[in-house]
């Protein structure tokens, strides 16, 4: 298991845990669609490196800062 920030481009991962520091941040992440078990894929960093664009469950795009993605634990989806 690794953090979302250290994933590689265009590879599918499954969200295992939202280890964000407080309830408020966790709730905000959930509301944005970062649900445990969701399939997430790094698409591309924005031009200045941060945030990074991610595709979630193939149905929504999120721009996530490194400060958030570093606290999201994921595991690679084995096809």
């Amino acid at each position: 298991m690794i953090s979302l920030s250290s994933t590689v481009l265009n590879t599918q991962y499954r969200i295992v845990e939202l280890a964000l520091p407080n309830a408020r941040e966790r709730l905000h992440a959930i509301a944005m669609g970062l649900h445990p078990n969701s399939v997430i894929q790094k698409i591309r960093p924005t031009p200045f490196g941060d945030p990074v664009e991610y595709l979630i469950d193939g149905e929504r795009l999120l721009a996530i800062d490194h400060a958030v993605s570093a606290h999201i634990v994921v595991e690679e989806v084995i096809p």
């Binding site: 599918q12 407080n22 309830a23 408020r24 941040e25 966790r26 709730l27 905000h28 992440a29 959930i30 509301a31 944005m32 669609g33 970062l34 649900h35 078990n37 399939v39 698409i43 591309r44 924005t46 031009p47 200045f48 490196g49 941060d50 945030p51 664009e53 595709l55 469950d57 193939g58 149905e59 929504r60 795009l61 999120l62 721009a63 996530i64 800062d65 490194h66 400060a67 958030v68 993605s69 989806v77």
Partner: protein, 657 residues
């Protein structure tokens, strides 16, 4: 709009995440046009309409976009407060939770969470047509059975499912008075954030199972067809090289449009108002009444209306960028660049809007999640070069910068104007850096922003939205400018009994010379305060009147220098040429030039910084809910402006001589 209409049989609140088509649904249900935006939290004001259902008048309210049960942004707080206020009333109330059919799993937990707390709720599975295009089949009957509350499929765009929604409203009315929930959402959020988070997470798990059972047509993780286009376009808009270039081109186009395309309309309004004032002056024989109507009422109205083309253009173009889905991407693009100054991408839209007018800019801060960052943005917003500064800059640059001067082949006048825009950004950065040293420094929080799919905007709805925003500006901000203009007319037109230089008291039906008016007296009284900046009483009066709106400075100087309007009636310039000449040739008692390049530098710096806009003060008061922040904003900007103008004046004098 009739949010305060007296006798509704029931209230229906359209709630949900931003970009789920709430506003389009609201338009379809009420026949009114409201904003639909692609940027998170675009519906920043409560919009309500009414509809008669089975003989009962129902109020339908379009709530601001809500992403979490916690009131993190002002918008979300507005939505939650409204729900809890309505639920406590002695009448039928129901939340119609609007979910996007293609991303049902994202929206359902929130609806389920509300239901479990005891709120009356109906789920609207909206944009069902788009979901079908994406190959999804949603079994609403199964959803309804598993959820335990009403579910209706609809499309606001094609008006599909409207009959079913009206039937659901009728059922709510039939059910009668609403019962109170076990615990209100506001009370729960206050009591225990962690518990709220846990309860919401439970709803999330259940929602996942329910959606899986009711949806056919795709496996989890498979790419939705609508996302293919977005991913392809993002390859360009978020490209490391092309992305910033496209951003600069789009922003340049935006400003070009605001200041070029709006100009003929502004000129037209000025011409109509000037013609109207002339007609009034020639038809009204009573000089006092004539002056009140022409110089007070019409001038006041004109001061409001001249802003409308630029504000309309700004809202239309920003709305266009929002609805296509580009604006959130632009905000993420600049996010990294803004961080060293204690800001982030969330402040981009408010600051961009402030380049046309600080009023919509400050209103747009409602979507900023951090309260400290929101306050910092409100404090910085008036530094952006708004359209009201342009007439002042044009006058001063025309008068004191040679039209023939060239630097590297470019006009120095033009470069000075561009320099004023650059200076505004430099000042904003400086203030942001200072704010970092104060308690307003925002806690470092990571952002997670939704990038909505690229969609084709509906130009008709956008045009209606633009007209609506212009009307809001005319009636809300316009009231302040209008009243202040009348007040200034009174100060400039009285007393009618005054003393001449030969010490004779005169009673006159004509207005006094500006020097003998109350305004003149005030100018003389404040002159010593502005003398270190190089201003005489005339410029001091101009600064005072410019507090109503910055461009009033030009008309005030025009009045003071007794400009004959017919002199410049043929001029194509924005600034009366005779006023430029007056500023260049004015002399004091000793015959020395009254104003110099140093005065112009001082004035340009003062206008670039000082908060000379009553409407901005009023909007800051309204948005921050008290006198503290507008007072701080006014005090720091005036102090900063005074110091910069003083240094600019002294350094230019030193440099010249």
């Amino acid at each position: 709009m009739s949010a305060s209409a007296p006798s509704y049989h029931a209230t229906i609140a359209l709630a949900g995440r931003p970009n789920t088509g709430k506003s389009t649904l609201f338009n379809a249900l009420t026949g009114r046009n409201q904003r639909i935006g692609n940027f998170a939290g675009s519906t920043v004001e409560k919009a309500s309409g009414s509809r008669v259902v089975n003989g009962c008048t129902v109020e339908i309210v379009d709530l601001p976009g809500t992403t979490t049960p916690l009131p993190i942004t002002t918008d979300q707080k507005i939505a939650m407060d409204f729900i809890d206020r309505e639920i406590a009333k002695d009448q039928t109330f129901c939340i119609f939770w609007v979910a996007e059919a293609s991303t049902l799993e994202l929206d359902l937990p929130f609806a389920l969470f509300f239901h479990r707390l005891g709120y009356p709720i109906t789920l609207i599975v909206n944009m069902i047509d788009e979901a079908e295009k994406n190959g999804l089949a949603i079994d609403c009957a199964r959803l309804e059975k598993d959820l335990g509350f009403r579910v209706v499929a609809s499309s606001g765009k094609t008006k599909r499912g409207m009959h079913d929604i009206l039937h659901a409203i009728a059922t709510s009315i039939k059910a009668g008075q609403t019962t109170m929930p076990v615990e209100t959402i506001s009370a729960l959020a206050l009591r225990d954030e962690a518990h709220l988070c846990l309860t919401h997470s439970e709803a999330l798990t259940d929602a996942h199972t329910i959606v899986q059972n009711a949806t056919r047509g795709r496996t989890r993780g498979a790419l939705l067809p609508i996302m293919k286009t977005s991913l392809a376009l993002d390859r360009f808009f978020l490209h490391p090289v092309l992305g910033p270039i496209l951003f600069l081109v789009i922003m340049a186009g935006l400003f070009q449009a605001i200041f070029t395309w709006a100009a003929p309309l502004t000129d037209g309004i000025e011409w109509v108002m000037a013609t109207l004032a002339s007609a009034v002056k020639s038809h009204l024989t009573n000089p006092l009444l004539s002056s009140l109507v022409a110089d007070g009422l019409i001038a006041g109205l004109s001061a409001v209306l001249v802003f409308v083309p630029q504000i309309g253009m700004l809202f239309f173009l920003i709305g266009l960028l929002e609805k296509t889905g580009y604006l959130p991407r632009a905000a993420t693009l600049v996010d990294r660049l803004m961080r060293p100054f204690g800001l982030d991408g969330t402040v981009f839209i408010p600051l961009l809007s402030s380049f046309a007018c600080a009023i919509p800019g400050i209103m747009a801060t409602r979507t900023i999640t951090s309260n400290k960052r929101r306050l910092a943005t409100i404090l910085i917003a008036p530094l952006m070069t708004c359209s009201a500064r342009l007439p002042v800059y044009t006058l001063l640059i025309s008068a004191f910068v040679s039209s023939e001067a060239r630097l590297l082949g470019l006009s120095v006048q033009g470069l000075t104007m561009v320099g004023m825009y650059a200076l505004a950004i430099v000042f904003a950065i400086l203030v942001a850096l200072v704010i970092k040293l104060t308690p307003l420094r925002s806690e470092k929080t990571g952002q997670c922003v939704m990038l909505p799919p690229f969609r084709l905007p509906n130009l008709k709805e956008l045009a209606h939205f633009t007209l609506q925003r212009c009307a809001v500006f005319v009636f809300k901000a316009g009231k302040v400018i209008f009243v202040l203009s009348i007040l200034l007319w009174i100060l400039a037109s009285f007393p009618r009994v005054y003393t001449t230089p030969t010490n004779m008291s005169l009673v006159n039906s004509e207005p006094p010379p500006i020097e003998a008016s109350y305004l003149g007296h005030i100018g003389k009284a404040v002159e010593p305060a502005f003398a270190p900046l190089g201003y005489d009483w005339r410029l001091s009066v101009g600064l005072m009147t410019a507090f109503a709106a910055r461009e009033v400075f030009v008309s005030t100087l025009g009045t003071i220098f007794a400009i004959d309007n017919s002199d410049n009636s043929d001029s194509d310039e924005d600034v009366p040429q005779s006023l430029v000449t007056h500023l260049q040739t004015a002399t004091d008692e000793t015959g020395s030039p009254l104003y110099s390049l140093a005065t112009a530098v001082s004035l340009l710096l003062f206008f670039a910084i000082a908060l000379q806009c009553m409407s901005t003060v009023a909007i800051t008061y309204r948005e921050t809910g008290g006198i503290k922040w507008p007072a701080i904003q006014l005090a720091y900007l005036w102090t900063f402006a005074y110091v910069a103008a003083f240094l600019g004046y002294r350094m230019t004098l030193w440099f010249i001589f």
